[in-house]
C-alpha cells in the first residue's frame, strides 16, 4: 500500500528476559510480531535467531524453531474441544520446547490439566472452544502456548479481556517460567503488568522505535508519557 507499518525497528531479545513491547494503538507492535513469526513478510531487514536468519521462513518452521505466539484477535479451532487444543499444541510444538523440558506424556497431560484448572476452564474441557466467552478464549490460547514451554513465547495482548484475578496468576507463571529459562516477548497495554513482569521494555511509536530500557526508566521518558500513557488520570490510581 506504500505505507510502511514499521520502519527501521531493531531490538534484541536475549535469552532469559521478559521483554515488553508497548506503544500507542497502531504503532506497529502486532505487525512486528507478525514479521518475526513469519506471518507477514517484511520488505527488508534481518531477523536472526541464535545468529541464524529466519527471515522469510514459513510460520510453522519458525514455530518449531521455538518461537511460539498468540494472536491479538484470538484464534482458536471453534469445533475442537479444550483438551484437543492443548494436545494439538503440545504435539505440534514438541520441537519448540526448551531442551531438557519433559517430553513425558503423563507430565504433559498434568501440565495441560493444571493450566485449564488454573484458568477456571476445567469444567469446559470437553466443550468446543467456539462457545467460550471472550476472556476464556484468550486464556485458552495462552494456556495452549504456555503448556508447550516454548523457548520464546510471543504474546500479543494476552491480558486483554482477562479478569484481574487471573492476571496475577499469569504474572506468577511467566516469572516462574522465566526463572526456568524461558524467554518472553509480551505486547501489552497493562502498565502495571509490564512494570511488574518485564525486565526490558521497547516502545514503538508510528512504526519506529521510540525508546528502550527497563520499565522504571521508560515510564520517566516524557516522549513515552506523551505517546503512550497520556495524562495522569484518576483511572491510574492503584
Amino acid at each position: 500500500m506504500g505505507v510502511a507499518a514499521l520502519s527501521d525497528v531493531e531490538f534484541t531479545l536475549s535469552t532469559g528476559t521478559v521483554l515488553g513491547l508497548i506503544g500507542p494503538n497502531g504503532s506497529g507492535k502486532s505487525t512486528a510480531l507478525d514479521c518475526v513469526t513469519g506471518f507477514v513478510r517484511p520488505d527488508s531487514g534481518q531477523i536472526l535467531l541464535d545468529g541464524e536468519s529466519i527471515f522469510g521462513k514459513a510460520p510453522h518452521l519458525i514455530a518449531r524453531a521455538g518461537l511460539v505466539r498468540t494472536f491479538q484477535t484470538v484464534k482458536l479451532y471453534d469445533q475442537l474441544t479444550l483438551d484437543e487444543h492443548m494436545s494439538l499444541s503440545l504435539r505440534g510444538l514438541y520441537k519448540a520446547g526448551r531442551s531438557g523440558a519433559s517430553r513425558r506424556r503423563s507430565a504433559e497431560r498434568k501440565r495441560a490439566t493444571s493450566w485449564l484448572v488454573e484458568f477456571g476452564l476445567e469444567q469446559l474441557r470437553s466443550a468446543p472452544a467456539g462457545i467460550l466467552s471472550y476472556g476464556q478464549k484468550k486464556l485458552l490460547a495462552l494456556a495452549a502456548v504456555l503448556v508447550t514451554q516454548p523457548r520464546i513465547a510471543l504474546l500479543d495482548e494476552p491480558l486483554a479481556g482477562v479478569n484481574p484475578r487471573i492476571i496475577d496468576l499469569i504474572r506468577d507463571a511467566i516469572l516462574q517460567a522465566n526463572t526456568e529459562g524461558q524467554t518472553f516477548l509480551i505486547i501489552e497495554h497493562n502498565v502495571e503488568f509490564i512494570t511488574s513482569c518485564c525486565s526490558e521494555v521497547v516502545v514503538l511509536d508510528a512504526g519506529k522505535k521510540l525508546a528502550a530500557g527497563p520499565p522504571s526508566v521508560i515510564w520517566d521518558d516524557p516522549a513515552v508519557y506523551e505517546a503512550f500513557l497520556g495524562r495522569k488520570g484518576d483511572g491510574h490510581a492503584g
Binding site: 494503538n25 486483554a160 502498565v191 502495571e192 495524562r231 488520570g233 483511572g235 490510581a237
Partner: protein, 260 residues
C-alpha cells in the same frame, strides 16, 4: 433524568442452548443517566447479558424495558431504533470497507439529513480514525478497530449505550479518553452500561458497580463502595489477597509514584 432512558430487565434469562440459561433470572434496573459497570470473572455471563438485551443471544426469557416501553419482542434493529445501541466484545466492524464507509453505516438508522453531520462529528471526535479514513477497517490495528466500533455506536446518540469492554486493546492514553467520553455522554443523560475487566480504572470512572457471578448479580452498589470493599477486591477484582507475597504491592505503588 428522563424516564425514557431507564433500562430495566426483569426475570431475565438468556442463553445459547434451550434449558441452559447463561444469564439466570435477572431482575435489575439500570440507573438512567449514569455509568453502570458490570464486572465479574471470565465466563460469568456479562457479555451474554448485553447481547441478550440487544437481542443477539439464541434465546431469552423475561422482559426488557426502556422507560415504560416493553421491547422484548423487537428484533435487534428494532431495539436500536428504540434507543439501545451495543458495542459487542471482540471485532465487530465491516472489515472490507473503509473507515469512512463503516462510519456511514454506523448512522444507518439516522434520517438522511443528519448522516453527513454525524460522520463528520465522529471523525472530529476520534482524530485517530480521521487519519485512517480511507483504510479498510480490517487493516487497522486492534486498538484502532476498537475505537472505530465505539465511534459507530456513539454516532447514533442512543439513549442507552451497552458497551462491552471498551478498553480492550486500547493504550492507556486511549483508554482514559474513552472513559472520559463515556462519562461525558452520561452527563448528557445517556445511560451507559459497560462491562469491564479493567476493573480498577473502569470502576473508578463509573457511578454504579454490578458484580456478576455465574449468570446472577452477586452484588451491586455505588462504584466506589464496591471498589474499596476488601472482599470484592480479593475475590473478583484481582490484586493480591493480603497474604500474598509482599513484593507485588510496591510495584503498583511505584507505578503510581511514577506519576502515571
Amino acid at each position: 433524568m428522563p424516564a425514557d432512558r431507564h433500562l430495566s430487565v426483569s426475570a431475565f434469562s438468556a442463553g445459547y442452548l434451550s434449558g441452559v440459561p447463561i444469564v439466570n433470572d435477572l431482575t435489575y434496573g439500570f440507573a438512567s443517566g449514569s455509568l453502570t459497570t458490570i464486572v465479574g470473572p471470565n465466563g460469568a455471563g456479562k457479555s451474554s447479558l448485553l447481547k441478550g438485551i440487544y437481542g443477539l443471544t439464541r434465546w431469552c426469557k423475561g422482559s426488557i424495558r426502556i422507560g415504560d416501553r416493553d421491547i422484548t419482542a423487537l428484533p435487534a434493529w428494532g431495539r436500536l431504533q428504540a434507543g439501545i445501541s451495543l458495542v459487542p466484545q471482540g471485532r465487530c466492524n465491516f472489515p472490507h470497507m473503509t473507515v469512512q464507509e463503516n462510519l456511514q453505516l454506523g448512522v444507518y438508522t439516522l434520517p438522511r439529513s443528519n448522516r453527513a453531520v454525524a460522520v463528520a462529528e465522529a471523525l472530529d471526535q476520534f482524530p485517530a480514525l480521521a487519519a485512517q479514513r480511507t483504510r479498510a477497517a480490517g487493516n487497522l490495528s486492534g486498538g484502532q478497530q476498537q475505537l472505530l466500533e465505539i465511534a459507530m455506536a456513539m454516532m447514533v446518540h442512543p439513549r442507552v449505550l451497552l458497551i462491552d469492554e471498551p478498553s480492550l486493546g486500547l493504550s492507556p492514553k486511549a483508554r482514559c479518553q474513552i472513559f472520559d467520553k463515556l462519562k461525558e455522554i452520561t452527563d448528557h443523560g445517556v445511560s451507559v452500561v459497560m462491562v469491564e475487566q479493567n476493573v480498577i480504572e473502569g470502576l473508578a470512572a463509573s457511578d454504579i458497580a454490578v458484580v456478576m457471578v455465574d449468570g446472577r448479580i452477586h452484588r451491586h452498589g455505588p462504584a466506589e463502595e464496591v471498589l474499596n470493599d476488601p472482599e470484592m477486591k480479593n475475590v473478583f477484582l484481582g490484586g493480591r489477597p493480603d497474604t500474598a507475597a509482599p513484593g507485588r504491592e510496591p510495584d503498583r505503588r511505584r507505578h503510581d509514584d511514577d506519576g502515571i
